[in-house]
Symmetry: C2
Amino acid sequence: MDMSFLRPLVAVDLLVFTILDDRLKIVLVERAEEPFKGRLSLPGVFVREGETLDDAAQRGISEEAGLRGIYFEQLYTWGEADRDPRGRIISVSYLSLVNSERLALTAGERTSGAGLYDVEEILGGEEALAFDHKQIIEYGRERIKNKTEYTRIAFEFLPELFTLPQLQRVYEILLGKQLYKANFRRKIAPMIEETELKTSGEAHRPSRYYRQKAE
Amino acid sequence: MDMSFLRPLVAVDLLVFTILDDRLKIVLVERAEEPFKGRLSLPGVFVREGETLDDAAQRGISEEAGLRGIYFEQLYTWGEADRDPRGRIISVSYLSLVNSERLALTAGERTSGAGLYDVEEILGGEEALAFDHKQIIEYGRERIKNKTEYTRIAFEFLPELFTLPQLQRVYEILLGKQLYKANFRRKIAPMIEETELKTSGEAHRPSRYYRQKAE
DNA sequence: CAAATAGTGTCTTTGAGACACTATCGT
DNA sequence: ACGATAGTGTCTCAAAGACACTATTTG
């Protein structure tokens, strides 16, 4: 086969988003090696022989966050020739959304100094990220905003049982705007299912727990 | 670098859609070589050294359809291990939408027996396509339907000047359902701009030509 | 009962859907 | 005048937006 054809390494870069302290956060790692040593970057793995892209993404999420059974979807494939100084590397990015409670559980055994970073600060800030990762995060942030409007991805950020004030906060963070309580509840009513449980112990009216209803 | 990492060939597969005779069509080629010799497949090219994915897609569209300056966007990246019997090949698919008048111009100088095929027939029919290309076409068809609802991609299928009955037919084909004339016109009103031109010579009331208005 | 948050009722505005009507061409 | 397609007016109904109100807990 003609040797002028590209035979690149294929990386899977992971955008693991979560919500913590009422802010959208993303998992980033500090690069331990050149290129871009010391800079923040998306966690990623190289695709192995015999491994599908989805497999590699799954493996990456397990390695970095110690998690299984999490929402993820392919985002976009980045193939600029100069995006990695080591040579041609194609990056297939994956979007993953997790409940921060589950993520926190495994934060102790984190390998490469993975940490949660505030997405708006990263995007608005001056600090340069490794490779084209800032652009990729921007793209992922946009996708989340869009999909929040016409899918149920917001639920991925919450545990199985949640209150409506919690759910509304998630929507507000993802959409970047305030919502009216009554309108919000009308809109999500078909997606949720009441439970008998309520919060307690707080100095105000308790709120009911719900779970997601089958579509 | 560890040799267990994948170094695949990277193909760019093109979904060139157009509308002809009030039907959604796609450009397919008959494979001249094994594997899948004789079967229909998406036109595609291998990505070359020093070429970006978008470059390769652009080159593929030029080669197959002889066209420049056409709408295209990356669709999805397919990386199943067994999708190509020759070995690991990653396929980055691109969606492209063209006005059939422009496509017809270059159909004479077509190289590899490229032809237009009815999308619904291909998807509904029994005939097997090469590789996983039927699945890819299905995915592209879905994307078009979705984007028709919240973007202006429908305009890509028409020349610069068009009548509203033409535009409505395009929408109906893409969405797969009939639309009410008055409602349709209200909805697209902000996207279009009147011209002074009208159709003529037909045995009924002439219709006005419009052009797309800047967003 | 006061502070705080949860939860509901309802008026208004906007847009989608359905349908009937009028307008203008060629023959 | 008629057939054919272009184009408009308007009623209805559902959803989005805005806002005011009631409810239930702890201290």
